[in-house]
Each structure stands twice: as C-alpha cells, then as structure tokens.
Amino acid sequence: MKGILQNKPFLYILTGLIVAMIPLVTDMDRSTLTMLNLIVIYAIVAIGFNILLGYAGQISLGHAAFMGLGAYISAYFTSNFELPFLASLLLAGVIPMVVGLILGLVALRLEGHYLAIATLGFGVALQQTFKEWIGFTNGFSGARAVTPEIFGFALREREHFFVLVVIVCVLLILFAHNLLSSKTGRALIAMRDSEHAAQAMGVSLFKYKLIAFALSTFYAGIGGSLYVHLIRFTEPNQWGIDVSLNLLAMVVIGGLASIPGSVLGAAFIVFIPEFVKDIEWLQNIKNVASIFTGVALVLVILFFPYGLARISTQIKASLLKRQKQPIPKEMEG
C-alpha cells in the first residue's frame, strides 16, 4: 500500500481523477469553473516552462507568445479547415515547438540576462506579428474558436471541458515525469548545474537545450489551444510580456524543477487576484489585486525560496537544524 502511495505517476493520476470529479459532484458557479479550467491550462504551460527554467536552467521571457501561437493555430485550423479538435490540438503543440527550436538555437549562443532579453524581444516580435498578420489572426478583431468536439461529443459544459483539460494535463504531467526521471531529465539537470561537467559526461548542450525549448513551447502551444477553445476568442494584446512574466512567477512561486509546484504556482497566480477582488473592504483601493499579488510574490521569494511545493520540506529542514536559518542574514562588509 505504501508502495503505491509513493508511486508518483499513480498519485498524479489519482489526483487528476479526484480533481476532474469535483465539478461533476459539486455545484459550482460557471465562472468558478472557468477559472478552474484556466488554472489547469496555465498549469500545463507552467509545467513546460518549468522544464525549461527549472530543469534546463534556460530562461525565457517570451513564452506567452508561444501560447498565443498555439491558440491562433487551433482557432484557425478548426474554423477554417474544420480540422478535428484533437488534430488541431496536436498541431497547436507541434508548430510552436518548431518555432521554439529557432529560439533554442538563439539560446545556444546566449546566457542568463542576455538570453532573458533576447527571448523577451522574440516574444514582442511574435506578438507584433499576430497584430500584423491579419490573414491568419484576424488582427485586433480577434480570432474565434469553436466548441471542441471529441468523437462527436461536444464539450459545451464547463464541467466536461474541465475533464478534458485535466486529462490532457495529467497525460502531459506523466510524460514530463517519465522523461525527467530518465536520461533526458538527468541530462537537463546536469546541464543546468554545470555545463562543463555535463559536456564532459557526453551531454550535448546543442541537443538538450533544443529539447528543453521544444518541450516547453510544445506545452505552451497545447495550453494555448485549450485556452482558445475554452474562451472561444483570442486577440493579439493578450499575449504580451505580462503573461510571460506571470508564467515565470508561477514556476518560481510554485517551485523550480517541481511538477506539482507548477500546478500550485498556476493556481496561485490565477486565483489570488480573483480572491482579493472579492474582499469587500479592499475594493475601494484601486489595483489592490495587483499590489497584493506583487507583495505575495516578494514574500514567497523571501521566505519560501524553494517554492510553495517545498514549504513542508523546508519547514522540516529548518526544524531539524534550527540553528541554521533558511535565509542566511547577509554578512556586513
């Protein structure tokens, strides 16, 4: 029994099962359900992004554009060519992945902050392309997407759509988990920890940086496709730097190199602003949600630098060696 509970894939599936069931057995507001859907969708993108940032140690500040690309592709192919939803979902993953490979090539030449800004520029340029390539994106009038149908069953209700996104999420989690606990995962972490040693052990930086970018943009594209079929609309302004920064925040708040962390982080970033907005006595302050999210971000970094997913481990560790503070005080010079 204990063995099963330590089997992570099993736990992922079990959790997914329970989560997918919740809306079906409880009576939830439709808008709350939409939010739950969004959380899972962002979780998918965050997991991909975590592979890139948390495992491979490569930063990107332009990932929102890949999510947008996935959204546009899926909207375009389902509406204009009546491509079945599942096929367009796959396409919405694959095409951003190919574009992501180009970004990966850039990453081969750049490090750290230079990479951050280059990816930021890449994202802005891609977003600008959404604005100008009207034939494909319909410009600012926005692209519409149909309600997805799977084997003839239309996912019109939020509860059903939720089951779909949870299944996709669980499948992608399992894939990521398997991959990350095999050769590829070890190579990515090795590359992050020490590029030299990784190379000396036969890890090709070329190959694994490209893999990391390809995987993360694939996940982003899938997330984008699910997003656009949930909201059934998208427009270029959505896929700007603020969403990219949110993705980054999700991964760091949740915990770098942690799959459950990515999910937690997504939930945190999507849910907190909504939660704050509903607190009545705060409503007179303009932008209180933004201030609150900002403060939360800072506090998490300062006090839980390993992310929400590792809070319990962190507390345990600090209890064990109480003399050692989790955040060492800075030495005065």
Binding site: P9, F10, G142, V163, R232, Q238
Partner: protein, 415 residues
C-alpha cells in the same frame, strides 16, 4: 520511487472509463439546469422593487483611465434615477465586474453576471476584447445587452438582443471621409492612426467612405501612417505626413498618442486642418493636449456623437458633483457611461412591467430615444447601428483664453 507498475496503466484505463461515465451523468445534470433556467428566465434579476443589471469593463491596470470615468458616469445616472424613485418603483442595482481588458476575465465576469448573479441585462460592457469574447454567451442566452463601450463594427450584426449605442470606429471613419470631402474639399488626405483595434477600424472606414463617395484617390497607400499607443517618438509619422503635403490630416488615435502627435506638429510648425475621433471630444483631452501644442491645436476638429452643450450636460455635471464630488475629470468616457445608463433606463421605462427579456427587447425595438445626451438613438425596425448622427466641432479659444470645442456642423449621417 520508480517502480511504475502496471497499476498505473490500469488506473489510467479506469480513469478514462470514469470520464465517459461522468460525462454522461454530467449531460443529465445540465439538461436539468437548462429546465431550471427556463422557469426563472421570465425575469431573471427583476423583483417587484428592483432590477439587477451588470456591467463589465476595465477598472484596474493600464487602461483604468478609461473605465473609471466611464463607470462613474453610469453610476451617476443610475444613482440619480434611484434617488428619484427608480423606474416603476424599481430601484436599479448595478453589479460591476473588472475584466482588466482581458478576454478570459471578461468571459468569467459575463458568466458570473448571467449565471450566478442572474442579472436582468448587461449594460455598457466596455472594451473590445471583452465584448468580442463574451459575444457568444450573450447571443446564446439571449440576455439584453445595451450599449457597448467598443468601436467594433460587427456588433451591429450580432443579434436581436444586442443594442449598440456608441458609433463604431468604422462608421465614424466613413463619416470623417464625408466631412473631409464635403466640409474641407480635401484633395490630398493623410491618416495617422493608432495601430490597434481603434485606429485600424477607423482608417478602414475612412477608406471605405472615400470609396463610396467616389474619391478613393484622396488617400494614397503611403498616406496611411501607423503609430503605437505607447510610442515615445512621433517624428517619423509627422515627417512623413508633412512630406506628403496634405490639406487634411486625420488623426485616428486616443488621447495619449494624439497629444504626442500634436506636439510634434507644433514642433515642426505643421499647420493643416485635422480631424480626430469622438474619443477625444472632451475637455480633459484639451487640458492634456493644449499645453504642448497651443498653436496647432486650433486646427483640430473633433467628431462628436453626444451633445456637449452646457445645458445638455447640466444633469450630468450636477449628478457627478453630487455622487462623485472628488472627481475632477469629467470626459468623453464619463459621458459615454452616462449615455449607456440613460439608454437602458429609457428601454426600461418603455417596457413598463413587462420585464421579461422578450418584453424588454420588444420595448427597445419600438424605441426612438431623443431626450438624452446623444441626439438620437433608434432601434425601430430592427435597426442596430447605434448612434449614426455625428457632428464636427472645432477647437477654439474662448474669451478667457481657454480652449473649448465649438460646434461647426449639424448632426449628420453618412448618406
């Protein structure tokens, strides 16, 4: 940790099975829900002494400067109506939702208004992305939606329950073409437009207007100059405009970019008649733009669809002073919000006690409203164009040396 057993696979299988089961049961529950809806649909959000309505728009973030005055205008009008006893004894209750100008938030907001708060109507939803994203919900549910704070042109064709008021940018562009040709006798026009949903619809409408007037030659392809809303340097478009030697310049951008463009005009001393959009037709725009361009601003003409004569504006000014005494900024957005509420209430009065959605839509279909800030709003015979009559005002200095708008033309339609 890594003894992934066959259990995993078999569980995945069970998972899929469960999914298909729950999917079926889910379907049952929804059809139940649908029935429930039918029962209350007659007057969702209406009681004998209240009508609950909802609105969605940006109230935080970068674009809050639009939403804040807009919703104040709306609330000022509704407060006034409520303080005067409401409509047929019913007080109007407004539920505001912030969508941060994001489609997904707008969808959530619309869902909670329609399904959770169960409002009677959606009034004055603001922001093109949100309006577009929620269009399908409004259409599917058939809930009356009055006034869209959006210049998107397809709203005129969205359906019976859509009641646009504010003219769309495309139409305004067409009307600008008419003014350029008929008022200014233009031979050579340049359009500087904000490169987003606002400006692009405007420039498209302008070109279409010229075409319909048989004057396509007035605007050349190189005469369409894009600017960004957040640009910090307007030298290039203004240099280009100047080099084309136009006799009229259309400045189709919102306040921020427009002030930047005017300053650049001032810098290079480029004096040519300009026409800008109704979004800039208010005193706060002048307060923003005039200091940096005191000379060229007198060349500026602005489109207007609300009657901004002081006597017409008095109720608005009084209500704002009463309910929002700290607000100094009263601008085109405030007026827009005011008109949104005004139009909805006009329909509510018309509908009397027949407050089903069908009843309200029927009442609106018979409405031609001329008592408000807008010169005329009519939905008779399925008309859904919103306001079509607009007039041109010019910036001038009054006796005290302050810049004001002076009405130059009658309210006219395109053809």
């Amino acid at each position: 940790m890594r003894n992934y057993s066959k259990k995993g696979l078999s569980l995945a299988f069970i998972f899929v099975l469960l999914f298909s089961m729950t999917a079926c049961s889910g379907e049952k529950s929804t059809s139940g829900k649908a029935k429930e809806k039918e029962k209350v649909e007659l007057a969702q959000g209406v009681t004998k002494d209240s009508v609950k309505i909802g609105t969605i728009g940006v109230q935080s973030g970068a674009l809050a400067f639009i939403g804040t005055p807009y919703f104040e205008g709306m609330e000022a009008y509704l407060n006034k109506v409520n303080d005067d006893g409401g409509v047929n004894g019913r007080k109007i209750e407004l539920v505001k939702k912030d969508d941060e100008f994001k489609p997904d938030k707008a969808v959530q907001a619309m869902e909670s208004l329609v399904y959770d708060d169960k409002v009677f109507a959606v009034v004055g939803q603001l922001g093109t992305p949100g309006v577009m994203a929620t269009e399908s919900i409004v259409k599917d549910e058939g809930i009356p939606a009055v006034y869209f704070g959006s210049g998107a042109k397809q709203l005129t064709k969205s359906g019976e329950n859509f009641f646009p008021v504010q003219p769309n940018y495309y139409y305004e562009g067409k009307l600008m073409a008419k003014y350029a040709v008929e008022e200014f006798k233009a031979k050579n026009v340049v359009v500087i437009y904000q490169n987003d949903d606002v400006g692009r619809d405007g420039v498209e409408g302008f070109a279409e207007g010229l075409k319909e007037l048989g004057k396509s030659g007035l605007l050349k392809e190189e005469g369409k100059l894009a600017v960004g809303a957040a640009d910090t340097d307007f030298t290039v478009p203004v240099q280009k405009a100047k080099s084309l030697n136009p006799d009229v310049v259309i400045v189709y951008s919102l306040a921020g970019a427009t002030t930047g463009i005017l300053k650049e005009f001032e810098k290079v001393n480029f004096n040519v008649p300009m026409i800008t959009t109704y979004s800039n037709a208010d005193a706060s725009f002048l307060a923003l733009a005039a200091p940096g361009a005191p000379n060229v601003i007198e060349n500026l003409h602005v489109m207007g669809w609300v009657d901004a004569k002081p006597e017409k504006l008095k109720p608005l000014m009084d209500a704002m002073a009463k309910y929002f005494p700290n607000q100094k900024v009263i601008n085109a957005y405030t007026m827009a919000g005011w008109v949104a509420a005004e139009t909805f209430v006009a329909g509510l009065k018309e509908a009397g006690d027949n407050l089903s959605w069908e009843g309200y839509i029927k009442a609106m279909n018979g409405l031609t409203f001329t008592d408000g800030l807008a010169p005329e709003i009519s939905y008779v015979k399925g008309k859904r164009e919103g306001v079509t009559k607009m007039a041109l005002s010019k910036v001038t200095k009054n006796d005290k040396g302050a810049f004001i708008f002076e009405l130059k033309t009658d309210y006219t339609e395109f053809k």
